[in-house]
Amino acid sequence: MTPEELRRLASSHEEARPEPKYRIKVCVAAGCLSARSDQVREALENEIARRGLEHACEVKGVGCLGLCTAGPLMVVEPDGVMYEGVTADDAPDLINSLGGEPVERLLCPADAPFFQKQYKIVLENSGLIDPEKIEDYIARDGYLALARVLEAMTPQEVIDEITRSGLRGRGGAGYPTGLKWSTVAKAGGSHKFVICNADEGDPGAFMDRSVLESDPHRVLEGMAIAAYAVGASQGYLYVRAEYPLAVKRLRTAIRQAERLGLLGNNICGTTFNFHVDIRLGAGAFVCGEETALIASIEGKRGQPRPRPPYPAEYGLWGYPTLINNVETFANVAPIIRNGGDWFARIGIEKSKGTKVFALAGSVKNTGLIEVPMGITLREIIFDIGGGIPEGRKFKAVQTGGPSGGCIPEQYLDMPVDYESLAKVGSIMGSGGMIVMDETSCMVDVAKFFMEFCMTESCGKCVPCRVGTAQMYGLLQKITAGEASMDALALLGELCDMVKHTSLCGLGQTAPNPVLSTLQYFREEYIAHIVDKQCPAGVCPIHRREGQ
């Protein structure tokens, strides 16, 4: 299929259906589905059928609209009126309002800062297209980048374009994507693999899930372009089994793309072959680490191995393997379509483009957001997020999950980019962003993450297996009011040891939540140890006193 044919397919798809006067787009991503948007969709369809309005009005299921907390969300076009918190009972009123005044009580202001301050590249199709229809994706220039690459670009040119864009890995570490691709491309051998890491294990993060549920073809297209660039013909999508909806939509997407010759053998009529298979994760956080993920695809326990050799040289079954995260792949097609220079103009010096965050915790507008790199934390939390609810006070924001740190108020005006976050003891991570107010105890938060790392440690190396358990024990004592000041010194030593001697990223970053809270909220630790009380009233010592 050439770019021309793709365009023709898209326009014939548009023509085949007479454009209805109104189109109601109901969010069917997991967040709104759990607020029963499926019932809303059904009620709207029934109401339209009852009134015989099928020719004038169409109901469409679309991907994530972002503001999960106000779900179920829907948009009525052509006016673009957005509604929140819709229930099945609202269907008659909503249909009545078509062509007239909108339903006041359900209005969600689309000009709110939540929507205005965002910049969408990865999520540009989310909320617009039906994730289960490849035609919808093609109509929005989908697979155009792939067709163009196969028609007019050499693998080296593709890599150069990605390098020029300045794209860095969105899984957390921020390794330059172009460099990774060129390493795999240079590796010898006839067999190579492309793996998409969709094992989104960070608690409090759901970016990849939303991308996969809202725009699965985008990820497949990125993988196919990468495969062409590095010379691979087989790809694996490693997805969490906990995301059944994402898995279902991916399976549908792969089938559709194969039928149109956009995946499989002789893609777009060229000699390029690329097959994608899905592998289900089984609930092990450590499998987000690339060598552990490879072991898991090979059917083994997900335990990491020392690097080098890196997977780029010695990966799946010993062959050169390219591993990128979902969001990284989702950035590829727009970069090819618009050029690397276009992408490099967005963001700031060392961090280009945008980043998707899952904004959650103690903030008014929780949901999925995409912002340009370099935006400040204050803008994200107070403008987009709408600030802290119930008149409470901001205390800290946690980024990067169990590998990241808690950032206090004094750094709120810091730009969000890989280097700045690392400087204050946190990491960009995959995009979880949890806001905490004064009702959260920072020692308890540190204990929460340490318990996570302890349980998720694969047990292969001693510092991580034993070190995390020791640190957890100390944190338990501190939160129970049974520790002395020596515990703090010991905790610091253990952090240092685990950080520097663990085998993989899980252990090396496990101390981060403790280190950052020790640095910025030391007085809370001291309150537990010396005053025997928990200032936030979360830890057991407080409860015991209260009884």
Binding site: A30, G31, E200, D202, P203, F206, I297, G299, K300, G367
Partner: protein, 166 residues
């Protein structure tokens, strides 16, 4: 080397689903995790018979099969209760009060997280993160995700199951 394909532990027709998974992967040892997924999806849990059958079919040592089955949290070696209540313990849910939900259910029905009540009616489980952070705290009642759950609501939903069935 001659290899005779072992026969399933019972003549339960559902084993055909598991066999189909293994066949699709050419009975390759790499298919271990996919096969375990298939068994758990079909039967609800992995019992020793199933592990032995998978081990011999894929020609993987039983120790490795057991190793994988216990390494990954998603797999369970115990049958689930009639109803399941999964409390999400992800960061967002945790700071928004998930521990209180867990504690109140645990106290009312005398089960710890990961356990099933003696009458086999209720399994109380926890999840690392459901990815429904926008709706924190989230609880899954028999496969249906509910958002912004209070301990009272959780007890009420479970109460209806217990009452209805008795």
């Amino acid at each position: 080397m001659h290899f005779t394909k072992p026969s399933p532990p019972s003549d339960d027709k559902r084993w055909r689903i598991v066999e189909a998974t293994m066949r699709r992967h050419g009975y390759d040892s790499h298919a271990l995790i996919e096969t375990l997924h298939s068994v758990q999806q079909t039967f609800g849990y992995l019992d020793p018979e199933a592990l032995r059958y998978v081990a011999s079919s894929l020609r993987v040592p039983l120790s490795k099969v057991y190793g994988a089955a216990t390494f990954y949290h998603f797999f369970t070696l115990k049958p689930q209760g009639e109803h399941t209540c999964v409390v999400c313990m992800g960061t967002a849910c945790y700071i928004k009060g998930a521990p209180n939900i867990l504690a109140s259910v645990s106290q009312r029905y005398g089960v710890q997280a990961g356990e099933t009540t003696a009458d086999g009616k209720l399994s109380l489980l926890t999840a690392r993160c459901l990815g429904s952070c926008g709706l924190a705290p989230a609880v899954v009642f028999d496969g249906e995700v509910a958002g912004k759950v209070t301990p009272e609501e959780a007890l009420e939903r479970i109460g209806r199951w217990m009452e209805h069935d008795s």
